[in-house]
Symmetry: C2
Subunit: 426 residues, 2 copies
């Protein structure tokens, strides 16, 4: 029997990150970038206006104020998407929209809220906008560069704007689009084969006869695989005989990894071990000091990592969270592969013997910024109901014994209970 | 200009939860359950063994110990998936695997670790397992019920095991499979139309001429929609004219909601307002007291909620996170629609004027269970690079001014930075 930490180390030493594929950027959401991305142009590409307002020469509006506005002549109307035809000369302004390139001659933008339209009479005819003779009152002086976004102030041509290994979120997709990359290299999604073992299992569409139960683990495990961003491949049920187990395991060898459940407890040990040896596997361990989840096997079959999860549904799910999830995330190229544990106060004591790390299903509540964890009734490894009610797993280290109420514990989120709430978080 | 909280209230009052659809349980991952689910049988369905071991009569092994073991006769070998043919009588035991139904006559299971095989000679012939005459030494006495999982101890026939409104996680999928439900009603996934507006925009595959930029907002918004579990429908770019805007908005009316970006700043205001009025829309507000994201519009066009996000990429993404995300989550049937905010200590001061809620892009670090938030350089609403570097948004309430280093602030996670780490969380 080895510790959870030691088991994790052995497992991760055998896991390799998968190769790359080229996908469109929207399909890349949640994937890991496989290449450094350099910008092919400055951003912004040119000096442009940060505001709707007037492009002006600061020299013209020195000491302009609400009381003593400076009147400038509007010589052009410049929407975003176009470049000015004229340049701004002494006493002139160009009406400019946010994002439009700065006209020649102007060195600042005055926002529209600090101006007012004005009639200007007797202007030279070349200074007016077609169909209207108009001017603008400027109520405030400006400094050179005011309300101008400078070319390249975000990034410059050639800058590495995204680095290999980054997880692609909406922000990264926005960046890729902005620099004109419709496709990108990401690490492949792992294909994980899921096998249930046991003569006691029937498929979900069957009515279990006496002594039989439905194979639910394959569904729970497949869902956990999907939740990691990988692709579950269901191999169905292997019966408790050498031939069927060999056949189904072989199906799994075209996947990137095999996850089975059942068949690793004391009773089945020898038979499964025989099959695995026959397939040239190296088993690394068979038991981990944890509860639930002790009868957990890990090995390598024909170069594919293989997890033998326990048959009890909760043991299987908890062991998946601790070992298979980080392994899958490593395959996808992620660096941060471990769920962050949060601190919570225990609302009830928990009985525990030293010697195994415990994972206790618990409900979580937040009061005044503090999490409180309440262990749920029914912690048996076959008890589905408490798993459904659980927001988190309380982690109790191997060498700890009974724990009192109000003690600080670490909790590992399950689902979204720690991440979402029913009121705004402001 | 209204507050963020007031804007949220107006928006959510217009958002309706979508109808149901029936999907296979694996496809239901992340969706919201649309029906209460009752169990059609007890779980476990019958008393069964929680261990690999021997089903015994406790009366037979009173005072059994390592020194004075009691020897019982093994009359049958019972794997999981089968029922015992014999019943256990005085002096007898049945070898039993985890999960196998308890044989008649036995009232406890002794785990295999507390036994040892023994040769038993001179047994009556009906008491032996085919081909072997054998017995077992029992080293420990047992209480009635030891290592037996009782029928119905998890839940009983007719119990509501999952309630309407629950988000379906792997645990819920395991439960549904266990009770034989291959399909289930969930709320439909919202279809969200995405429209970019502006003559300055070109599509991603085009090379932007002078004054033009690539439409990146549609990609970032579509990714945000996907990250909420909804389906983005890209309507492309609407040009700055009435006809094109009307046409593209009409495409959007077969979706559940419309999200546009651009076209709501001061300059475009009148023109867009005209089109919307022409389509029978009711606009609820045009400005929200936040930074970035002030020019934000919300209304209802032909019964469909419509968001007019600002054109600046960061303003658009931040406004989506605050308003569109909760709206989409409400459509999907979720109750917890707001991201939980976490507390962090500020590592640098932030300048702020009163009057708007600020959302400041920041990097997060955890030391000794405490989060530290560092505001990033380049907070301009067009600065993509700081958005890519950000793990979270620091939330600074409307009425707060300059904030000192070491102050406690609330942060809203972006992506997985607060949820995953590179070392195990034990």
């Amino acid at each position: 029997m080895i510790s959870v930490e030691a088991a994790l180390e052995i497992i991760l030493s055998e896991i390799k990150t998968l190769g790359m594929e080229r996908v469109d950027i929207l399909s890349a959401l949640g994937r890991v970038l496989g290449e450094d991305i350099a910008a092919a142009a400055d951003n912004p590409p040119w000096d442009n206006s940060a505001m709707d307002g007037y492009a002006v020469r600061t020299a013209d509006i020195k000491e302009a104020s609400k009381e003593k506005p400076v009147i400038l002549q509007i010589i052009e109307d410049l929407p975003a998407g176009y470049t000015a035809k004229k340049s701004v000369k002494k006493g002139e302004a160009i009406r400019i929209m946010t994002g439009a390139p700065m006209p020649m001659g102007a060195d600042a933008v005055v926002m529209v809220e600090e101006t007012e339209k004005a009639e200007v009479k007797g202007l030279p005819s070349n200074a007016s906008i077609e169909g209207q003779e108009s001017g603008v009152k400027i109520f405030k002086e400006a400094k050179t560069g005011d309300n101008i976004r400078r070319a390249g102030e975000d990034f410059k041509n050639g800058d590495i704007v995204l680095t290999k290994g980054a997880t692609i979120r909406p922000a990264e997709i926005g960046m890729l689009a902005a620099i004109g990359k419709p496709n990108v290299y990401v690490h492949q999604r792992p294909k994980i084969a899921v096998l249930a073992t046991g003569d006691e299992l029937v498929e979900i569409e069957e009515t279990p006869a006496n002594g039989k139960i439905i194979n639910s683990n394959s569904y729970a495990i497949s869902a956990q695989i999907k939740a990691c961003g990988a692709i579950p491949v269901q191999l169905g049920i292997a019966r408790d005989n050498k031939k069927d187990l060999e056949k189904k395991l072989e199906f799994g060898l075209t996947a990137d990894c095999i996850v089975s459940s059942g068949g690793v407890s004391v009773g089945d040990f020898d038979f499964v071990k025989d099959v695995l040896k026959g397939m040239g596997s190296e088993m690394r361990f068979w038991k981990v000091a944890m509860k639930p989840g002790k009868p957990l096997a890990f090995g390598v079959i024909a170069n594919k990592p293989a997890f033998g999860l326990p048959g009890n549904p909760i043991s299987s799910m908890v062991a998946f969270e601790q070992f298979v999830r980080p392994a899958i995330l490593k395959m996808t190229g992620k660096k941060d592969i471990f769920k962050r544990a949060f601190e919570a106060l225990l609302t009830k004591p928990i009985k525990k013997k030293s010697g195994r790390m415990h994972f206790v299903r618990a409900a979580i509540e937040q009061k005044n910024g503090q999490f409180y964890a309440t262990p749920l009734e029914g912690q048996g490894s076959g008890m589905l109901r408490s798993m459904v009610k659980a927001d988190c797993l309380i982690i109790l280290p191997e060498n700890i014994q009974d724990i009192e109420k109000d003690c600080k514990v670490k909790v590992q989120p399950l689902g979204e209970g720690l991440l979402y709430q029913d009121k705004p978080g402001y």
